[in-house]
Symmetry: C2
Subunit: 235 residues, 2 copies
DNA sequence: CGTAATCTTGAGTCACGTCAATTAACGTGG
DNA sequence: CCACGTTAATTGACGTGACTCAAGATTACG
């Protein structure tokens, strides 16, 4: 697997990645049905029997898991082309998936998928590459959550989001946040209040400007990235 | 992929998992060479061209990545049967791998591995299952790092370690720690000093007893597990 | 037995979690 | 268009968990 990243994989989409090639998507769609979900509607919940694998057609999906303490951790946010539900444990979903707005999904029976993969080694190989990419993403998150303070985590998230033209307008230097402070907190492993305070501090430091709650102006991407070089504690 | 976990996968080995079936290991060994590493010797470093994939034959390997701040995060510790180096990004290793003691590894050329997988869909499928397992493990770590305080993280680690008979003796209820406070800190996303203090607190609370720096007595697994239900802050 | 590495403890300070209250944004019906 | 209710966002106050620097204590090892 030296050529583990195809050209398609090479795009700078650190976070919200659309990684299946059009060809692969065609294969899948042959056995897929299109289903629709409304805002904040559950696609499936952790602990329930796993029946389907999904691919995002449009919209946004939140993948999360509940901690023993009761609070939930957002594992990732998925966009068009991303797949999920493909790795149940003992036939049970380990995560919950929730549509974050009007969202359409391709849905495939896991048994049919397995059958397809058995007869299409090339597709199976692409799934392997895809899984490898997801694993690297997950490791990046381990790094962020393990080593960075909340300001740095937020900066990392904003920088990831800026790679997506759906959310970032380089002309206006404006970044729109497609999620609530609560979701942001659950993603960064902190509270919504702290998210707000950190946004306020970044604004005071001139790294961002809050045009509204969900719309930021980012004067300099580099300045934001420089935050990541600092230590966790600033004595 | 409804049957994504084989019997082999079902063992309770949350953290240090040996997941390749004997049969798969045989296939790999046909094109593998055995190599040996001494304590604290680098197998490869992040940023260097990726040439090989490895499987641990004996010993222990630390997978880590350096943060922009300079500190390193330990992604995982690998034991016999675990594989690594299989997911370079653009032909370059994204993590560093270090032998933590006398360690023997099976080494396979990535190009040869790719060739083998191309002709052995069954093996490729097992790689896919393996990757899915690793991904779930990584997601568990995201949960731990995102939601738990250091005491809880340490407890989670100890509980994981207790699943391994190499380190835990249920008769004596003794758990041996095969790593330094530094490695432990880098794994838990904290400092070695804090690790020590947390160990001291757990001892004061009767959850563990430090027989020596690297040997713990754990009276009750359940009591330790109950820690995880608490909140991050104990006001 | 000496030197270095590892482990432990201490002191001080900040970052952040939590509870509480206020303000802003948004939709809905009159 | 406005009154109202509901949710999201923000700000305040406060305590504490954990980071950092520093200095001992213990262990490992040649």
């Amino acid at each position: 697997m030296p050529e583990i990243r195809t050209r398609q994989f090479r795009q700078a989409r650190p976070h919200f990645a659309n990684l299946l090639t059009p060809e692969q998507q065609v294969h899948l769609r042959e056995i897929a049905t299109l289903v629709e979900f409304g805002g904040n509607e559950a696609v499936f919940s952790e602990g329930t029997p796993a029946e389907f694998m999904y691919m995002v057609a449009s919209g946004m999906v939140r993948i999360s898991r509940r901690a023993a303490s009761g609070r939930q951790q957002v594992i990732s946010f998925l966009l068009s082309g991303d797949i999920f539900g493909q790795l149940p444990e003992e036939g049970v979903y380990v995560n919950s998936a929730t549509a974050m707005g009007l969202t359409t999904l391709y849905r495939v029976h896991l048994s049919q998928l397995e059958e397809l993969l058995r007869h299409e080694p090339q597709l199976q190989r692409n799934f392997l590459l895809r899984m490898a990419f997801d694993l690297r993403q997950a490791q990046k998150r381990i790094l962020v959550l393990g080593q960075q303070n909340v300001s740095q985590r937020l900066a990392s998230f904003l920088l990831d989001l800026m790679e997506h033209e759906d959310f970032y307008d380089p002309q206006q230097k404006q970044l729109s946040l497609p999620l609530s402070r609560f979701d942001l907190g659950d993603y960064l492993g902190t509270s919504p209040e702290t998210v707000v305070r950190v946004l306020a501090r970044l604004e005071k430091d001139g790294l961002i400007r809050r045009l509204s709650a969900r719309l930021l102006l980012i004067p300099s991407q580099d300045a934001l990235a420089r935050l990541l070089r600092g230590r966790r504690r600033n004595d």
